[in-house]
């Protein structure tokens, strides 16, 4: 099986390559990247006026299987990923039951074999049942394929547990994906505290509920030598902590989400729970800090925190609706439209943040178009203009904060392991 992608503009941030070239895929690997490749391929994709880039890698996705298949499952979630240009997604462990044992990973692997159209990289819990009390069998879980550990959604409040987890996981060189939130400070909060929360009468979540935990866990990583990756950084003070830590050589990385990079707490105005996220949308100053962090390297990568919830759950008053928004199918167009076309960051930097950067954090041989690498590739049309419509998504859920937004840019082909899985709006299986 071979595929030849011709005439595209090849952007490979891992090597710095950005020029018109052809890409030849043989079996599941990238065979050659060169100009004017003559090959008798089984399939040819004409990428004229299109971008050819490594498939996107999303470190932070909630596939909801097992347990909440009404929100999303591996079948729908990986199709949403493919349609969004993502070829590898980390599956967060806050399922029912929580993925905290080798059996959980084996279940995920078997379901993925039958239903997934992109690579699923399993993340296991840090503590048993994500209860924050007893650490999991990290070694066994790494053996069975866990690429990282996270109690995402249930922040680890006990500093001793966090300390031990960082110390122990440092043996395996895997990161802990750390949802930083001091729940004593954020309790009952609905949105970021500030002038808007006061005006709207919604209980605020102070920025320090995030940044104080970021500071704590950076200090614990520094002390233990463990690897901490701060999830969905949302406030300026957290960005400051990470920047200072990196300067002093602490093993810390972090991500920002498309919604925190493009929206602010002003979006809460209409009491629409599709803007209720955790951490909450911040101020314009926070948003500026995240964009600056992308530029100067403080923020290593972009991850969606794709968090599907049913219409019924989200169509409710603010205190009753759950936190979270979906992101896989809106991430690239929204980031391209609001960050690249506005001149905030370059296209190559955006692609770096969603390809090679997360791959490096997870020690993957992905996110690159190097010859011999896994043939995970996306072809992007940057000119197509359209309005985002969650009713057309492959995701089972519609809780998207960008409904009706006019955007440019769309994946037109997604290739996973040398196989076309998405082409011109359709899943190919």
């Amino acid at each position: 099986m071979s595929i030849l992608i011709q005439n595209g503009r090849v952007i490979d941030p891992a090597s710095g390559r950005d020029e018109a070239m052809d890409v030849l895929i043989e079996d599941s690997k990238i065979a050659r990247v060169a100009k004017g490749i003559q090959a008798n391929a089984d399939e040819t994709i004409d990428a004229k006026n299109k971008i050819v880039a490594p498939g996107f890698v999303d470190m932070h996705v909630h596939l909801r299987e097992p347990g909440r298949e009404d929100k999303e499952n591996i079948h729908s979630g990986t199709r949403a990923a493919a349609a969004g240009g993502f070829t590898s997604v980390c599956a967060m462990p806050n399922t029912t039951p929580v993925c905290d044992t080798a059996q959980g990973l084996q279940f995920l692997a078997s379901r993925a074999r039958d239903n997934a159209v992109v690579n699923i990289l399993p993340v296991a819990a840090v503590t048993v049942g994500q209860a924050g009390e007893a650490i999991v069998e990290f070694g066994d879980l790494v053996y069975y394929g866990a690429v990282a550990f996270s109690d995402d959604g249930n922040p680890i409040m006990n500093a001793e547990i966090m300390c031990r987890a960082l110390e122990y996981t440092s043996m395996f060189n895997v990161p802990i994906l750390d949802h930083c939130d001091n729940v004593d400070l954020s309790k009952d909060g609905q949105m970021r505290s500030g002038a808007n929360s006061v005006r709207l009468g919604l209980k605020g979540i102070p920025p320090a509920s995030e940044s104080s935990q970021v500071a704590r866990d950076i200090d614990l990583a520094q002390y233990t030598g463990g690897r901490v990756h701060i999830c969905h950084v949302s406030v300026r003070q957290s960005v400051r902590h990470v920047a200072n830590a990196k300067k002093s050589g602490v093993n810390v990385t972090c991500e920002a989400t498309p919604h925190h990079l493009t929206l602010t707490d002003a979006a809460m105005e209409g009491y629409d729970a599709n803007f209720k996220v955790n951490p909450p949308l911040g101020s314009e100053d926070d948003r500026r800090a995240l964009i600056e962090g992308l530029r100067d390297g403080t923020i290593d990568c972009i991850a969606t925190d794709h968090a599907p919830h049913t219409d019924m759950e989200k169509d409710n008053v603010m205190t009753e609706a759950p936190f979270g928004v979906i992101g896989l199918e809106s991430a690239f167009p929204v980031l391209y439209t609001d960050l690249v076309l506005t001149g905030e960051i370059g296209l190559n930097l955006l692609l770096e943040k969603i390809t090679i950067a997360p791959s490096r954090i997870l020690n993957l041989k992905k996110g690159t178009l190097a010859e011999g690498a896994d043939a995970d590739i996306v072809v992007l049309d940057l000119d197509e203009e359209y309005a985002i419509d969650p009713q057309k998504f492959f995701s089972r859920s519609h809780n998207c904060p960008f409904v009706g937004k006019q955007v440019k840019g769309r994946p037109v082909a997604t290739i996973v392991g040398g196989r076309v899985v998405f082409r011109d709006g359709q899943i190919v299986t």
Partner: protein, 326 residues
């Protein structure tokens, strides 16, 4: 009943307004129109038959997700004096946790043919949510810690009745501003109407960002109430103390209670207002609560007139006035 004609643009705007959700989104002219209309309704109260046929054949549902005997009764009397049929639909929070969402409850009531839903809900924004999903006119009777527009209107009405103006008046709102929907509705109404508003209380209960809207922020009672024309006191709730927002009722009393000695720092004709229910001996001393400056019971009377005005004006906007008679 006649709507005052000198504020015709406001009347036109209000006629287009389908719901009464909050005062932040209303204009000064709309607020003045409601106050003016309330005045004509209050005149009815001195008659032996306190009833007009304005809303005959219309159904008002009081949908209260939180207990409130005062506000619910006030709306009930207002609607009955307009000849509407009134139904009280009390929903304890426990039946919501049983699985019925606000949307289901509201749809049920809509199916029964309600023309107005007067709603109190513990979540800020709930009336906005409901108004997008329901055909009935929604009147916010208090949402979470956000707004309580009819309370803001009746407070403004009471101030106007006594002071005959808003421009240049010094109004102090004292107490737990953070958790108070009464404070927010008062702030929006009074600042739009031209009063100088000061909010005062312990720093843990005062959102300083109100300064962005032209409100003075003070943590010092004496400084705040000197030369005040109006002091509007808010109820101090024990649960706030339990969450360590202030150390004790005793300390609150020491720092912020309005008693006769402190009353002397304000203007001689200062009005003492309170939305009720009062914690006698906590935010207000017994003597002041029952003293000559207190207009607390007048507020209750005015509440009925203001709520009649709101129902009447919204009915006009919904073409519900075919039952109106001279």
């Amino acid at each position: 009943m006649r709507v005052a004609t000198e504020t015709k643009t406001a009347a036109e705007r209000l006629v287009q307004r389908k719901h009464l959700l909050g005062l932040e989104e209303m204009t000064k002219e709309e607020i003045l129109l409601i106050l003016d209309t309330a005045k004509s309704f209050k005149e009815i109260f001195t008659r032996s038959v306190k009833k007009v046929p304005t809303l005959r054949g219309k159904t008002v549902v009081n949908l209260f997700f939180e207990n409130s005997t005062r506000t619910r009764t006030s709306f009930e009397i207002a609607a009955k004096r307009l000849s509407a049929d009134v139904v009280n639909f009390s929903v304890s929070t426990s039946s919501v946790t049983k699985g019925e969402t606000l949307l289901d409850t509201a749809r049920t009531i809509e199916a029964m043919g309600a023309d107005f839903i007067v709603m109190r809900h513990g979540t800020s924004g709930a009336p906005w949510f409901l108004s997008r999903r329901n055909r009935a006119a929604v009147i916010n009777a208090g949402d979470g810690t956000h707004e309580h527009p009819t309370q803001g209107l009746l407070d403004a009405y009471t101030i106007l009745e006594h002071k005959k103006r808003f421009e240049g008046l010094k109004v102090v709102i004292l107490g737990d501003i953070s958790h108070s929907r009464v404070a927010r509705s008062n702030i929006w109404a009074l600042t739009k109407l031209g009063a100088q508003v000061t909010i005062c209380g312990p720093r843990t209960l005062i959102p300083s960002s109100f300064a962005d809207y032209g409100v003075r922020v003070s943590y010092d009672l004496k400084e705040a109430i000197s030369d005040a024309d109006v002091i509007n006191l808010l109820r101090i709730q024990l649960e706030r103390q339990q969450r360590n927002l202030f150390p004790s009722i005793r300390e609150y009393r020491l720092l912020y209670q309005i008693n006769e000695q402190r009353l002397a720092m304000a203007k001689p004709d200062v009005l003492i207002m309170h939305p009720g229910p009062i914690n006698r001996g906590v935010e207000i001393s017994q003597e002041v609560a029952d003293g000559p400056h207190s207009v607390i019971l007048e507020q209750v009377t005015n509440g009925v007139a203001v709520r009649m005005a709101v129902l009447y004006l919204l009915a006009g906007s919904r073409g519900l006035d075919e039952a109106e008679e001279d």
